[in-house]
């Protein structure tokens, strides 16, 4: 557990830089994390981030399949918006825990 200053605000993060208190999150902080990840946020990014935050709030698990069916983007666009590791980047920017895979 650590404290990090993002967009001029102190927020709680874990060792991988994921926020641990969802209530501290706001759009400026999202933009701050996004900049570190090399992502510039558009309205579509924010629409998807809202969707992700709502899913996590009700306890649903996040998968690429689920995001592809969100009605906001398909899986391919999702990769374009968050290049490299989309699920890891999108959750970090959305201020929710990194999805764990259970197998």
């Amino acid at each position: 557990m650590a404290i990090k200053t993002i967009a001029g605000v102190n927020v709680d993060v874990n060792e991988e830089g994921y926020m641990t208190d969802a209530s501290q999150w706001n759009k400026e902080i999202a933009a701050g994390i996004a900049a570190e990840e090399g992502v510039e946020l558009t309205d579509q990014h924010f629409e998807l981030i809202d969707w992700i935050r709502n899913k996590v709030a009700v306890g649903d698990s996040l998968t690429i399949r689920a995001i592809g069916k969100s009605g906001i983007v398909d899986a391919k666009q999702f990769y374009k918006m968050f290049p490299g590791a989309p699920l890891k980047k999108a959750t970090k920017i959305a201020g929710v825990p990194k999805p764990t895979s259970c197998i």
Partner: protein
Amino acid sequence: MKKLLILGAGTAGTMMANKMRNNLERDEWDITIVDQYKTHYYQPGFLFIPFGMYTKKDVIKPKSDFFPVGVNVIFSKIDKILPKENQVLLDGGTVLKYDYLIIATGTRTAPEEVDGLKDKLWYKDIFDFYTIEGATALASYFKTWKGGNLVVNIAELPYKCPVAPLEFVFFADAFFTERGMRDKVKIIYVTPMSGAFTKPRATKMLGDLLDQKNIEIIPDFNIMEVNNDEKKIVDYGGTEVPFDCLVSIPTNMGDDMIARSGLGDDMNFVPTDKHTLQQKDYENIFVIGDASNIPTSKAGSVAHFSSEILEENLMCAIEGRPFTASFDGHANCYIETGYGKGTLIDFNYDTEPLPGSFPFPGVGPFGLLKVSRMNHYGKLLFRWMYWHILLKGKEMPIDSEMQMAGKKL
């Protein structure tokens, strides 16, 4: 007469039929079990078929050998569940009523979920080994294969028996070495996970094994399509992996019947309480085995451990008592590593696989996260136990709850 209805007579359904017939009075309770097929497949045996270690006859027995006296057996496809009416419809229109329902319809491979997977190279240069058809087709292919890129790809999570694809590449390494052609075969393990497995210690141990056996791993690969003309797999991020032979673990989904019944998530798995095994919306429906969405491995060992929990909780429900059993997600998997050796992992919802000895602390005879000859015998012994003890719902010499004794933190 009260009615208990069990859907699916695979590993989990068969165990529950045996257990519940023992518990419920014959003159008060009717028990009925339904399955579409008459043959029981020992699925863990599919892994051994491509390498000529088992053939089809080693993995099949009639389902009817395993049902207890006093259970009605119906061989028919299930059309759908009407949970509000406490009814199940079979193909052909038969209606079955129930007081309690157990869903045990497992998971199936869904190759149609990935573009180009089930296309012109399907069962020519592209195979699965999670079905008897795929495993036997691959066995004949390997007999004359000249070598090249052998790509093993996991399409999507979750999939049943999470260690089986790793065992497959370990076996492939030994198989092609023994045939004197390992230098002609490049084995590549392509997975959507970030490493060989999910939890830190098992990932490190299994990742090191891949390395020692000269098996390349490509992590974080989420397959978008199979290009049949250029013989390559492509992920959403644009990474391409060329193959000469592709062995796919296709998307695993619950049966379509679950979707028709409106009881599934986006992969047709049934939302289930991970401790009580009760379906999330209906008090008289319980779910066991691969069909549920509980966050642990989809494996026969899990079905077995959870059957003891379900037996107890179903009796609580029937007798109007609060639930007394709680499932901890216990999974126990023998992992073949080739050359007559194996390793073993034991874990649950909260505790990752740890090193140590199993099942007797300090004694074993099995070693956790260690490669040994004994662990390989454990896996072979599992087939005997499966047919003779497990399916019949008898006690196994292993606790259903995961034990910490004998483990090193």
